[in-house]
Symmetry: C2
Subunit: 107 residues, 2 copies
DNA sequence: AATATATATCGTAAATTTTCGATATGCAAC
DNA sequence: GTTGCATATCGAAAATTTACGATATATATT
């Protein structure tokens, strides 16, 4: 009954590639403590962090950051919730933990 | 007195990039159990695994594999010992463990 | 010395990734 | 419905990575 929650090697590959860009690791880190890095957000941080705020922090263009966020999301590290015209991003802690466990024993 | 054995963020970046290619992860894995994957090696496996044996296993060209091995070595994951005309590669288990620990709390 | 073998390095072509500006889409306010 | 704002997607240029064959280097054998 699919109790086994192991990721395929293709998924692992996608995840490692997602981590292989410093800006994407930065984003993941910022999302770890939104109250530290995004204290100025009007909307409650509990929903997640607004894409625009992340754009600002990176200094990269809106479209580039949008692509980075999509990469992180495809890898499963983050999710987005759409509220009105905004997208709010937050970490999937379980996926991250699972990834680390998998990497630890596959490496 | 430099008790702190923490890697810089540039080093971490180099290490993650080194892992971001499936062939390099394969190599690291093969080197984990040389007796399983390189049972046919004439020289004692305790010295490490001969570059040529790794070439064969990947199916890639000699020069390409040499470059992959250099990448893994620059990242610190493996070391090489030169004996005669051969280069023998082996894992740096301590570095790998240290990397995993660092990644686990930085991610 | 000449030859053979193992590996590293060089130059380069192909593939992939990163980035941007422009545009499209979707929602909100007027 | 038009205007404004937030985000996603598109198309293309630039940068980086991967791969190869050719060559260099170094050791071993004859």
């Amino acid at each position: 009954m699919d109790m086994d929650e192991t990721m395929s090697s293709a998924e692992l590959d996608e995840m490692i590639k997602a981590l292989s860009h410093p800006v994407r690791r930065d984003i993941l880190n910022w999302l770890k403590q939104p109250e530290v890095y995004f204290a100025d957000q009007e909307h409650p941080l509990s929903i997640g962090v607004c894409a625009g705020k992340i754009d600002q922090k990176t200094g990269l263009s809106q479209s580039t950051v949008s692509a980075h966020l999509a990469t992180l999301q495809r890898a499963g590290f983050i999710s987005s919730k759409k509220v009105g015209q905004w997208s709010f991003f937050s970490r999937n802690e379980d996926v991250i933990q699972h990834f680390l466990a998998r990497l630890t024993d596959q490496l």
